[in-house]
């Protein structure tokens, strides 16, 4: 039976992704490790500070897994939230799992703990990249209702492999932030089709920002993550040069693009007006020979 990933809770997502009976959570909600900063602002706390971290197996392989809970302050990163993720990465350096899986669902830095959140995001990035140099593999997953924005948009792109659903959203500044600062003429955040064209999974897949596009179904996410774990890890000068070429090509070809459709047509995607209607399978087939990749 199909179970939507977009609407699922962090714990439901983990349950759907790992092998039954293999889960063990680190500092679970019963330990009541909560934000020390939110009570000062008369804000409610969560007993997991909006992120679940633990260990499990996927098709019998040991993995570490983290899932952000978008229902708590938009999955935003505060001091404890960030430290749980850094701790998981430090643990990966010791136990060497097959992969660290990050189920991302976050608006970025938690403004209630602004400075602590920003520093935490930079610590997550440094920890991931340091671990990658040491050969630990990271699989990022985007498909929740908060998308993946702010500093977490950078964290996502620090992973070895990035998976995303069409409904997922990925970016740095959210459309609301740009509209607030620059006005509705720059970015109309209520224009859902526009937001989808800029931040949505199909666009990100076509331009080479994500590696796999997945249907909004927990079982399909599980299958895709299992495939992603098999991908070879690479953190080399050659790999970064290839990525650099892709990004330089994108800049030189599309610096003047006004809409995602200009980019899709420029890449040679047939029938761009129908793109929103295509199923994931039909779309990935049509995109196979035109999508960018490093």
């Amino acid at each position: 039976m199909r179970k939507g990933y977009y609407e699922a809770s962090a714990r439901d997502r983990i349950r759907g992704v790992i092998d039954p009976g293999s889960w063990g959570e680190f500092i679970p909600p019963t330990e009541r490790i909560t934000s020390p900063h939110l009570p000062l602002l008369d804000q409610p706390v969560a007993f997991d500070d909006g992120i679940v971290v633990g260990a499990g197996r996927l098709n019998g392989k040991d993995v570490l897994i983290a899932a952000q809970e978008g229902r708590f302050l938009g999955g935003a990163v505060g001091e404890v939230h960030g430290a749980k993720l850094v701790g998981l990465i430090e643990r990966a350096l010791k136990i060497r799992p097959s992969a660290v899986i990050l189920l991302l669902d976050s608006g970025g830095v938690r403004l209630h703990e602004a400075n602590a959140g920003l520093i935490a995001v930079s610590e997550i990035m440094r920890a991931i990249l340091h671990a990658r140099v040491q050969g630990v593999k990271f699989v990022g997953v985007i498909g929740g209702s908060c998308g993946c924005f702010g500093g977490m948009g950078l964290v996502a792109r620090c992973c070895d492999v990035l998976l995303m659903s069409e409904e997922g959203r990925l970016g740095m500044s959210g459309p609301e932030v740009i509209e607030t600062v620059r006005g509705v003429e720059e970015f109309d955040s209520r224009d859902r089709a526009l937001v989808w064209r800029v931040t949505g999974g199909k666009h990100r897949y076509l331009i080479g920002e994500v590696d796999m596009l997945v249907d909004d179904d927990v079982a399909q996410f599980r299958a895709a993550i299992a495939r992603a774990i098999e991908a070879p890890a690479d953190f080399s000068l050659e790999g970064l040069e290839r990525e650099h070429d892709m990004l330089a090509r994108r800049w030189s070809r599309f610096a003047d693009a006004n809409d995602a459709r200009d980019i899709w047509a420029g890449l040679g995607m047939p029938d761009v007006t129908r793109m929103a209607l295509m199923s994931t399978e039909e779309f990935t087939r049509a995109a196979e020979n035109v999508r960018e990749r490093p």
Binding site: V86, G87, E90, R91, A127, G151, L154, R157, H244
Partner: protein, 237 residues
């Protein structure tokens, strides 16, 4: 302080720009007989895809052409560029690419330092200065996520309440002192910058420290739970 003044004070025995990009610059400065690669942005610019790409190129070229040469990021940025075009092109991907290039440099024994000489805000700071082995700021510089009035508006918490809390907690409000207390800044600089740079380089070269900002934040009383949380997750049975 202007970037020219900053460079003069960091490198009294000489510096020379050799690359420019939109509100950005790079060159070589001499520190105690050693060549330092500096890469920076100026005029409180917003960092967009083109600038992130240019900085990534400069870092990769340093790795390829100058083994073990130290890299110093000099920052004056008001954040990431807030434009639809930059989002369309995947600004987060360009920023992450820059961060990866910095990590590659670190892995190849290039010491990485950063100095905020003007402003540093959120996304403009993350992939550059915040990736350094050791982060510094001038005493009259500014580091922030967001000013308190904007924070009050978005979180719907009264401004007066935030202002009152910020007198006792480094977590909410802008300021280099707060970032030092929380362990992010190794040190706040003024006075003889050349001597401080030399010392900072020596420190990184000797210890090649892992990211110690959490432990430092705990010691200084600015971030009291992060370090313990990491230990608990790392060592949970």
């Amino acid at each position: 302080m202007t970037r020219r003044d900053t460079l003069e004070r960091l490198f009294p025995s000489g510096w020379q720009d050799d690359a420019v990009f939109d509100n950005g610059f790079a060159g070589t400065g001499m520190c105690d007989g050693e060549s330092i690669r500096y890469i920076g942005v100026e005029n409180a610019t917003e960092v967009g895809v083109d600038q992130a790409l240019a900085m990534a190129r400069l870092v990769l070229d340093t790795v390829k052409q100058h083994a073990r040469r130290a890299i110093l990021f000099l920052l004056d940025t008001q954040g990431q560029r807030l434009r639809k075009r930059d989002e369309l092109l995947g600004l987060n991907g360009y920023m992450a690419h820059l961060a990866k290039c910095v990590e590659l440099a670190r892995a190849n024994n290039h010491p990485i330092l950063s100095l905020v000489y003007g402003e540093a805000v959120s996304g403009g700071y993350l992939a550059t200065g915040m990736m350094a082995d050791a982060c510094y700021a001038l005493s009259d510089a500014q580091i922030q996520v967001m000013n308190l009035p904007s924070m009050a508006r978005i979180t719907k918490i009264p401004l007066g309440h935030l202002e009152q809390l910020s007198e006792h907690s480094p977590v909410f409000s802008p300021g280099v002192a707060n970032y030092a207390q929380m362990g992010h800044l190794q040190e706040i600089w003024d006075g003889e910058l050349a001597a401080k740079l030399k010392h900072a380089l020596m420190r990184v070269r000797e210890a090649r420290p892992a990211d110690q900002r959490m432990a430092l934040g705990q010691q200084r009383g600015g971030r009291c739970v992060a370090y313990e949380v990491v230990q608990r997750v790392e060592h949970a049975a």
